[in-house]
Amino acid sequence: MGASTATPRTPWQLFWREFKKSPVALMGAGILALLYLSAIFADFLAPYGMSKQDLDFSYHPPTPVHCFEGGRFVGPYVRPTEVVDVGRNKYGVSNAPRSPIRFFVVGKEEPWKVFGLVPTTVRLMHVDPPAHLYLFGSDKFGRDVFSRLLYGSRVSLTIGLLGILISFSIGMIVGGLSGYLGGGFDMVTMRFTELILSIPALYLILALRASFPMNLPSDRMYLIIVLILAFIGWATLARIVRGMVLSIREFEYVTAARALGAGTMRILVRHILPNTASVLIVAATIAVPGYILGEVTLSFLGIGIQEPQASWGNMLTDAQSVRVLKSFPWMLVPGLFIFITVLAYNFLGDGLSDALNPRKVLGGKS
């Protein structure tokens, strides 16, 4: 193939051909696609609003969903429950009639806006009171864990992407200039990255967090967390970029570009940095979980995203106590989702690094 094929493959086609060979990577990509889609459509998918609480039903276990009654298919329904033991959060099935799960219900829960534009109240699932649809149980305030998980994913999943985007940009610029210009600039910036890298990340995060006011609105908090994480994360990327630039700038095509009359910035942006892309995409993919975990850590410690805004981190705050863990194990569900997300990112990163590996023989094994 190659020169003889009538229509040459584009780099994307080549990439896809390699990428789809790895089932694990495809699985990672699929899981992430599902997670991000459900974050986007959280309002629709969640049966309840983010902060809708029912204090009489705190720590309610996951509601079983039934389909049959007396051997006859009656469609999905739940049984209403009532409090049996208030002190120990014990619930039992009440005598009230079964409550079918209704789909595409309008006008029952708090309104939301499709893509922030069109107001609507439609939600995927709904059960009429007194029954509750707690797919993953409820928390201390009787809020639906499943719904909060969806709303929380908006914070937790996007913080990683936004953080990597910022540190990616800083890392590219700083690392690129540092590697290409060398000399004093390189010296100063690299010592600075070493300074950042030499301080244990958690202490640095805490120290930076301490320099902002304690109680901030969620949106500001979100921005501050992104900035803190990006500030710590860019150093690693900058060093990767610098190392690559150091080797790429010696290639003859860089000299050739200079011989054609290209200036410094043009050479850096057009000729050197695109050649770091394959490595950087992989590095960034593998780095995203770090940012997600960073947000989770801060929120878990109670200095990140504040209630009532949900985040996977602050949903775990309750699970700090052994008593809660022992009696209400569903409080750990956000942890499971963090685990799945991190794993999916790593699978995706591995697949990308195989598919983008330039040393891999085309069509063969590496």
Binding site: F251, T255, G261, P274
Partner: protein, 343 residues
């Protein structure tokens, strides 16, 4: 000779290393006339590539620095130009092609993108027009079905094709001077001949001057009008191509010529000039070639000869060039002797 388009006077390019200044190019002078091809010949490490990079001011600095001399392009000293003006010269007035066709094209762009780059950098043309120019250039350098090749990536082309693309890039703005740094070294012999033919043809069509850097005397014989032989950072012989090949007046040139295998003649081993090019940080005293020279005399160890005109249009840097000219010293025979001793 025609009026020189490019004139290099006493060029000195030094590299400042921990071991002190390395005089990679030390007082090199030559000129290239309009439509002429000048060859610069020498072994690896003699400073020929540094010379060519110096002309476009592409020497990495630090550690390299052009410490002296003049490079006059159409009368303007390039060493006095500000960077922005120099960038307008590069690729537009003076272009360069490189040795390695495998690494001198950027793998992430199509051939067309790379040819268009020079056009867009130097001429106020739109993308469409630049693309048209790229296709024209590809046709000019003899690439079949250029409309299709223009969208292909370098890895889809063979070495010879890539070198053609490189030439198309370099010539896309119709420069006055093309510097070709070992343009055929990495190619196999049949492709070499094609590329040299192409350069000769384009030179005739576009009327440009070529500065051809090579270590291959066969390439020189085929393409050059005049030749400068470099050794250890200096020009040691400078004459037109017939003079160099038929009447070398410097022992080094004679040695180079003697080491070309002759078709049909049987040798146990190829003839070589004994020894290596000296390390630039520790050049010998006197004539830099004397440790390897079969006809060296005591004076060569202490006295560095000047580049002198031995006969009209023929300069040589050797204390004994006069004797060779007079016919009392036969360089070819002297090398034949050492060649056998060395083997």
């Amino acid at each position: 000779m025609a009026t020189p388009v490019l004139e290099v006077r006493d060029l000195k390019t030094y590299f400042y290393t921990d071991d002190g200044a390395v005089k990679a190019v030390d007082g090199v002078s030559f000129e290239v006339g309009a439509g002429e091809t000048l060859g610069i010949v020498g072994e690896s490490g003699c400073g020929k590539s540094v010379t060519s990079l110096s002309i476009l001011r592409l020497i990495a600095s630090p550690p390299g620095k052009i410490v002296g001399g003049e490079i006059r392009f159409e009368g303007v000293n390039l060493l006095d130009l500000p960077d922005a003006a120099m960038r307008k010269i590069r690729g537009n007035e003076i272009s360069m092609i490189f040795q390695e066709p495998m690494t001198s094209l950027n793998p992430v762009y199509t051939c067309g993108d790379q040819i268009m780059e020079a056009v867009i950098l130097h001429q106020k043309v739109g993308k469409k027009e630049a693309r048209q120019r790229a296709i024209e250039m590809l046709r000019l350098v003899g690439i079949p079905s250029p409309e299709q090749r223009v969208d292909e990536y370098p890895h889809q082309l063979s070495g010879g094709m890539r070198q053609r693309v490189m030439i198309a890039m370099a010539l896309s703005c119709h420069p006055r001077v093309l510097i070709a740094d070992e343009p055929t070294t990495a190619l196999d012999v049949t492709i070499q001949a094609q590329i040299l033919d192409l350069l000769n043809r384009l030179q005739a069509e576009l009327g440009m001057s070529i500065l051809l850097i090579t270590h291959d005397l066969g390439v020189v014989a085929e393409t050059c009008d005049r030749v400068a032989v470099m050794y250890a950072g200096q020009i040691v012989e400078y004459a037109n191509v017939d003079e160099i090949f038929h009447h070398p007046r410097m022992p080094y040139t004679a040695g180079l010529l003697g080491s070309i295998p002759v078709l049909g003649e049987h040798h146990e081993r190829l003839k070589v000039i004994p020894g290596n090019v000296p390390n630039p940080s520790e050049f010998p005293s006197g004539c830099k070639f004397h440790p390897r020279c079969p006809v060296a005399i005591d004076r060569c160890k202490s006295e560095n000869p000047e580049l002198l005109e031995i006969r009209p249009g023929h300069m040589a840097r050797c204390l004994r060039a006069g004797e060779v000219e007079a016919g009392t010293l036969d360089l070819a025979r002297a090398f034949a002797g050492t060649g056998e001793v060395a083997s």
